[in-house]
């Protein structure tokens, strides 16, 4: 005979405001099988959990229904409490009175009635719950880190320092990411290269880290602790084992005028190239789209020159499978394309550049050797206008959100420019200056007071180019309440931070959620900021939201800690919500085998004592099954059932509603 206890939570006022919890409790105690019912302000708090534990013991409960928030929020909490009191945790169910009821309704009487219905449904289910035992699966103690920017490098180094193996996959020919492109970093004006490149070398030489550059994740199979990831090694056309990085090939390649992506198109590279001299690995790749040998079969100069015979024009993409137990996504960001702003020249004005282009101009290793020269004619600009919030905080043509890093790097740009061009004028248009970080406000103040940056509060309505090449910037000074026009030689737009192209596809491959802007979703915005909805997949850096370097590094170390925590045990417990086949009734039609998306349903021979095959049925691999229930739905003889969500339970839930 079932003895169910019902525990109704007010969730502070979240539920209590719209649902009459004592009335729900009074109704629940009259439901069949319920022997105990109580309501409380915060059921998830310690006294709340104690109430549940005490009732389980004292009332000899055989099942529990907690009517509170979403099971995604606290099912784990309450099941742990039940287990502590000696009840199998899978005999505890949650009725969602918050997300499914109080938050979406206003009428208290109707909401209370609905809450009673929801409780009745879960009581009907709980009466049919069966005790389940967790499944234990082995963990592959190797981590995959996707993205070789500072976040990915940091995560890889921390995991490697913890003694676990790491595979670091990077799409480009070199690791280093955007940080390698920066001149100096706020708020200390550290040289970006000087603090980054030693980390790049460390990552490449660490015995626990396998570097896979010029590679992309193709597909993923498996589950937490046991992923099999297929990585596409893109054809480099240069054998890294033979290449010594001498540079003869890219010094002689006749194609000299390919805009270098690393220099934001301001510098040029060859068809065979390393993106920058400090690249790791310092081995070139051939850009197949431009190489005349690969396109037309003519040239072949680099192969003739190479003293080691490392050039291979017949190189092809190859697929490599790696087995990993956890994944860190650190795919980073890029800048929004301001071509969408017709009023700022629609991307056609050469002297209207983005923040990365300015970083390259200011960088000692950049195309101008650190001299500020404008792209159109190479002249040193005497007036630069910096525009913050270009594409950010604009839900019409751009993005709704604040890109967070632009206030700081714009102040840095103004500062660097004034350090290099003493008679130059740096004008910054801003909406607000958001400098919330350690030493950040002081840094912006320094740009204003010590380095003479002129800050104008207001938006720029239009940038036009005069016949002589001067840019005319027209905007509003909203503090003075008047329009302003400034003639400038160069305009730097602080374009919005957006995710990398292809990040949505990668999220789908890993089963990670993303928001409407394409940023990856964390499991909980406050309490689980590095986990995702996909178990064993963690986030680091700007792929989750706009972030500066210290924040990216902090999150990378946090995700490394999560990975090391996961790897601390050789085995992993997972929820036993899996499909089960009734071998007596299975007709072996194999419909479930073709329907299973995880390859968990397999043929199974039923043997007699002599080892002779009596008949063949289907069996489910406990490690692979994800409990999606597709097999149960396609089974014609109702021979497949899902533990925790049996057909009988679902029907009982529906009946309770009717």
């Amino acid at each position: 005979m079932a003895r169910i206890g019902v525990f109704i939570c007010h969730c502070g006022e979240n539920i209590g405001r719209t649902v009459d919890c004592p009335a729900v409790s009074a109704a629940a105690v009259r439901m069949p099988g319920v022997v105990h019912s109580v309501d409380y302000k915060y059921m998830c708090s310690d006294p709340g959990q104690q109430m549940i534990k005490k009732a389980i013991v004292e009332m000899k409960l055989t099942g529990v229904v907690v009517a509170a928030c979403s099971p995604r929020m606290h099912e784990r909490t309450f099941r742990a409490a039940a287990a502590e009191a000696g009840l199998n945790p899978f005999l505890l169910e949650m009725a969602n009175l918050r997300e499914h009821c109080s938050w979406v309704h206003a009428d208290k009487a109707a909401a209370t009635q609905k809450a009673i219905d929801l409780v009745r449904v879960m009581v009907a289910k709980a009466r049919r719950d069966r005790a389940l035992r967790p499944i234990r699966v082995p963990v592959e103690p190797t981590a995959l880190v996707v993205g070789g920017g500072i976040a990915g490098i940091q995560a890889a180094l921390d995991i490697a320092a913890g003694g676990k193996k790491v595979v670091l996959v990077e799409r480009g020919p070199s690791i280093g990411g955007h940080m390698a492109r920066l001149s100096e970093t706020f708020p200390t004006l550290d040289c970006s290269q000087c603090i980054l490149t030693p980390r790049m070398v460390e990552a490449a030489s660490h015995p626990n880290i396998t570097l896979m550059t010029y590679s992309e994740v193709e597909s993923v199979e498996g589950f937490v602790g046991n992923f099999t990831v297929t990585v596409r090694h893109k054809a480099r056309y240069v054998d890294p084992a033979k290449c010594t990085g001498c540079g003869d090939c890219f010094n002689k390649c006749p194609l000299k005028n390919i805009p270098n992506e690393f220099d934001a198109g301001l510098g040029m590279r060859r068809a065979i190239y390393v993106p920058f001299p400090q690249a790791v690995p310092n081995k070139p790749v051939i850009d197949a789209a431009h190489c005349t040998m690969l396109q037309k079969g003519k040239c072949g100069l680099c192969a003739k020159i190479c003293p080691r015979g490392a050039i291979d024009y017949k190189d092809q993409d190859s697929l490599v499978k790696v087995k990993v137990g956890a994944v860190v996504l650190a795919t980073g960001f890029q800048l929004w394309d301001h071509a969408a702003y017709g009023e700022y020249g629609g991307g056609r004005l050469a002297d209207v550049i983005d923040g990365f282009a300015f970083e390259r101009l200011a960088s000692a290793s950049g195309p101008t050797g650190g001299l500020i020269k404008r792209p159109s004619d190479g002249k040193e600009p005497k007036t630069i206008v910096f525009l913050q919030c270009c594409g950010s905080r604009d839900d019409k043509a751009g993005k709704k959100y604040c890109s967070k890093i632009c206030c700081m790097y714009t102040a840095k740009h103004a500062m660097l420019y004034r350090h290099k061009v003493h008679d130059g004028r740096a004008v910054v248009f801003y909406m607000d200056v958001r400098a919330a970080g350690k030493g950040y406000e002081e840094f912006v103040r320094r740009a204003l007071s010590d380095d003479g940056a002129e800050y104008v509060r207001g938006r720029v309505s239009r940038i036009t180019r005069k016949q002589d090449g001067t840019l005319v910037v027209r905007g509003a000074d909203t503090l003075a309440g008047r329009p302003v026009t400034i003639e400038a030689d160069l305009v730097v737009l602080a374009d919005a931070v957006v995710p990398r192209p292809g990040s949505e596809k990668l999220a789908q491959i890993f089963g990670v959620g993303y928001d409407q802007d394409g940023f990856y979703s964390e499991a909980h915005p406050k309490l689980r900021p590095v986990e995702t909805a996909a178990a064993g997949v963690f986030l680091a850096g700007a792929c989750q939201a706009p972030k500066d370097i210290p924040e990216s590094v902090a999150q990378a170390s946090a995700s490394a800690a999560k990975v090391l925590g996961l790897f601390a045990n050789p085995e992993l417990e997972r929820e036993p919500i899996i499909a089960r086949v009734n071998r007596a009734t299975c007709a072996h039609c194999r419909a479930c085998i073709s329907a299973c998306p995880y390859g968990a349903a397999k043929d199974f021979d039923v043997l007699d004592r002599a080892g002779k095959v009596l008949r063949t049925v289907v069996d489910v691999n406990e490690g692979l099954c994800q409990g999606c229930g597709t097999c149960a739905a396609v089974c014609r003889s109702h021979s497949v059932d899902l533990d925790g969500f049996t057909g009988e339970q679902i029907h009982a839930e529906l009946n309770a509603l009717l």
């Binding site: 702003y341 017709g342 009023e343 629609g346 019409k396 036009t464 180019r465 016949q467």
Partner: protein
């Protein structure tokens, strides 16, 4: 033969009569019939909406209701201001069904919102789609700047066919007419609009800036679609010339006039002789 509803408004029988002449002329060349809405009334122009919000919607509402009852599914409003009023009313009606109910009671006519309203640029694009370019006979070879002003570029729900910050709606037609479209910065700058009478000084300043840039980039003429812009750039240019604020006369043509010239029509028949700034010399033997 394709039939379009036609809403001339006040301007096309007054100051903007050349627009009326040239629009009708190129429609004829393209084989499109323009059927004037019977019993049309004023769109409210810039006056109604500064006096009374109901009146500002009721006037265009009546025009649209008439068009619908006369079986016109598409209506051309060549005047940019008329277009803006008609289309703006249409947009307001889709946002608020309650407003439609109120207007219906006010003008005592039903309107179901079925009329599609075209501005001159959209009309020209549709003529090109009908094969107008095949009927062009005259090589123009002129350097043109396209001037849109505000009413043919702005209002994100109203001018849905173009980009407010970088309008391009006339460029294709001008190129098809055998002219070069010069890049410039003033294509959607303000000409001074309706302040021609009340703040003539400001209008002179604004129009001069536009004319100065057109000349600086080497344009032979300015092409526009709006009668208000035309009068500010054409009529007020006389004043600028008199005060020696501009070095010489720069012809201002309607887009429909330019296309009429390309189609081989006589400048006089298109209304070129009615401009304040002489423009007939743009075609050989025209002046």
């Amino acid at each position: 033969m394709k039939t379009l509803g036609y809403y001339p408004g006040c301007s096309l029988s007054g100051g903007g009569i050349e627009l009326d002449l040239s629009v009708r002329a190129i429609a004829k060349v393209a084989g499109v019939e323009l059927r004037e809405i019977e019993d049309w009334n004023c769109c409210g122009a810039s006056a109604a909406h500064s006096l009374d919000h109901s009146l500002a919607v009721a006037l265009p509402f009546r025009v649209l209701a008439l068009a619908e009852s006369q079986g016109l599914s598409e209506v051309l409003a060549p005047c940019a201001a008329c277009f803006s009023r008609l289309k703006g009313t249409q947009v307001r009606l889709t946002r608020s069904p309650e407003l439609g109910q109120r207007m219906q009671e006010l003008v005592e006519r039903p309107y179901n919102g079925t009329v599609r309203i075209l501005n001159i640029n959209e009309f020209v694009a549709s003529l090109l789609a009908e094969g107008l370019a095949g009927k062009f006979t005259r090589k123009l070879g002129l350097k043109v700047v396209a001037y849109y002003g505000c009413l043919l570029s702005r209002g994100e729900d109203i001018v849905t066919s173009d980009d407010a910050e970088d309008p391009q709606g006339m460029a294709a037609a001008i190129r098809v007419a055998g002219c070069e479209v010069l890049p410039w910065n003033s294509s959607n700058e303000c000409c001074g609009g309706g302040f021609s009478m009340s703040k003539t000084g400001s209008v002179l300043d604004l129009s001069q800036a536009i004319l100065d840039e057109a000349r600086a980039v080497g344009a032979d003429l300015v092409v526009t679609g709006c009668p208000m812009c035309h009068s500010n750039l054409d009529m007020r240019q006389l004043e600028l010339l008199k005060r020696r604020r501009v070095p010489g006369a720069l012809p201002i043509l309607y887009l429909s006039e330019l296309l009429g010239l390309a189609a081989g029509l006589e400048p006089g028949a298109l209304g070129l002789g009615r401009h304040f700034i002489e423009s007939r010399q743009l075609v050989r033997g025209g002046a």
